[in-house]
Symmetry: C2
Subunit: 197 residues, 2 copies
DNA sequence: GACTCACTAGGACACATGTCCTATGATTGA
DNA sequence: TCAATCATAGGACATGTGTCCTAGTGAGTC
C-alpha cells in the first residue's frame, strides 16, 4: 500500500501507541485496528507481545543512533551538538506536552511492570549518555564528562515530565534557555580548548 | 488488628502497590491479598477501582501538606525549607531508585491511560509548586518565584527518573549538591533581603 | 431471645486480552 | 500449470479482571 511491509507497519503503529497509551494499556486489538489487519494474523509476524516490544525498542534505538549521527555531521562544534540534544524539547514540544518523553515514560513503565525488557529500554538512556559524554570530552571536560552528560539528561527528563503535567510551553522554552546559558558558562571556562573532531 | 480500619488498610496497601507496580498493573487480587480480605468484600468499602485511586491521591495530598507544614515549622529560613524539599531525593533514595518518584510516575501513567483522575494527581505537583513558589517569594524573588519553583521541581523529577533508570546513588548525591550550590548563588545575589516569615 | 446492622466470604458474571489453530486467498518459482 | 510458500482472516480457548450478588457472621440493643 504505502511501500511498507506489514511487519514494519505493525512496529511503527506499536511504537506510536506504546508512546501515547503505554505498553500495557495498548492491546493487540488497538494495534491491529491501527494497521487494519486481523488480530489473528498478528502471530504470523510476532510470536508474542513482548516480541513486538523488543522490536519497538530496537527501532527506537536505531532511530536514536541515526539522530545522533545527524547531529554530529551537521554540527562541527560539540557544544552545538549538545544544543541539538537540548532542542529536542522544543522540536518535539507538542508530543512531549501530550505524552512526555518516549524514553523516560517507557523505562518508568517497564520498571513498574518488572518487565524483562527494562534493561533494553534503559540502553536508550545509555545511548544518549555515552554520546553526550563524548561531546563533553571533546569540549575538554574529560574528567567530568559523564557527570555533565547525566546532568543534561536529567534536565531533559525533568522538563519533559513537568511539561507533560502542566502543559506549559513557556516553561519549556525558558528552561531550554537556562540550559543554553549553563552550557555557555561551561565553554567560557574552557574556551582555550579549540580542538574538536 | 493493628488499630487501622479495613478501609485505611486498603488505601495504604493500594498506595504502596500503585507506587511499586503502577495503578493499572495492580489488581484487586493484589490489594486484597496484601490486606488479607476477600476480593468480594472489597466493594463494601469502595464502589470501584477508580474510587480507591481517588482515596490514594487524597491520602498523598494530605501527607504532602503535612510534610510541607513540618518543613515550615522546622526551618525558619525559606532557603532551608527548599533544601528540605531537595533532600527528599536523599531521604527516599532507596524507594526512588527502585520505583521513581511517586508523583511523577503516577501522573505519567494516568496521562497515558487518559484517566479522569489525572487532573487530581497533577494537583500533587501543584502543591509543591505553590509551596516552593511561596518560599522563593520570601527569599525576595517575587517576580520569578514560580519560575524558580518549577525549576526546582523539574530538577527533582529529572534526578528521580535517572536515579531509577541507572540505580545510581552517587549521581543523586552529586546532583543534590549541585542544586545546593545553585540555591546558595540565588541567596548571595539577594542577601540584602532578610525579612522572612 | 429476636432484631439490627456493620462487615466479610465466596462465587457468579460479562468482558477483554494474549495466545493459538485452522482454513483460505495470494504470490512465486519451476 | 501446478505445487509450495507466504500472508491473512476469523474464530476458539484459557485466563485474569472489574463488578456485582447473595448468604453468612458476630457484636450490640431492645
Amino acid at each position: 500500500m504505502n511501500g511498507k511491509t506489514t511487519r514494519e507497519q505493525i512496529i511503527e503503529a506499536a511504537d506510536r501507541l506504546f508512546y501515547q497509551q503505554g505498553f500495557e494499556h495498548t492491546s493487540f486489538a488497538d494495534i491491529s485496528q491501527a494497521v487494519n489487519i486481523s488480530r489473528g494474523n498478528f502471530y504470523y509476524h510476532f510470536k508474542s507481545k513482548d516480541e513486538i516490544l523488543d522490536a519497538v525498542i530496537k527501532l527506537r534505538f536505531l532511530r536514536t543512533q541515526t539522530l545522533l549521527n545527524t547531529w554530529e555531521k551537521h554540527n562541527q562544534h560539540p557544544l552545538e551538538r549538545i544544543r541539538s540534544f537540548v532542542n529536542i524539547l522544543i522540536m518535539n514540544q507538542n508530543k512531549i506536552i501530550s505524552y512526555g518523553c518516549p524514553v523516560g515514560t517507557l523505562c518508568s513503565e517497564l520498571n513498574k511492570l518488572n518487565h524483562s525488557a527494562e534493561a533494553d529500554a534503559n540502553k536508550l538512556f545509555d545511548l544518549f549518555r555515552q554520546w553526550l559524554g563524548q561531546q563533553f570530552i571533546l569540549l575538554g571536560h574529560v574528567d567530568t564528562a559523564d557527570e555533565l552528560a547525566l546532568h543534561v539528561l536529567a534536565f531533559s527528563q525533568g522538563v519533559a515530565t513537568l511539561a507533560n503535567a502542566f502543559s506549559d510551553e513557556i516553561f519549556v522554552q525558558r528552561e531550554v534557555n537556562n540550559m543554553g546559558k549553563w552550557l555557555d558558562s561551561l565553554t567560557i571556562e574552557t574556551q582555550h580548548n579549540h580542538i574538536f573532531v
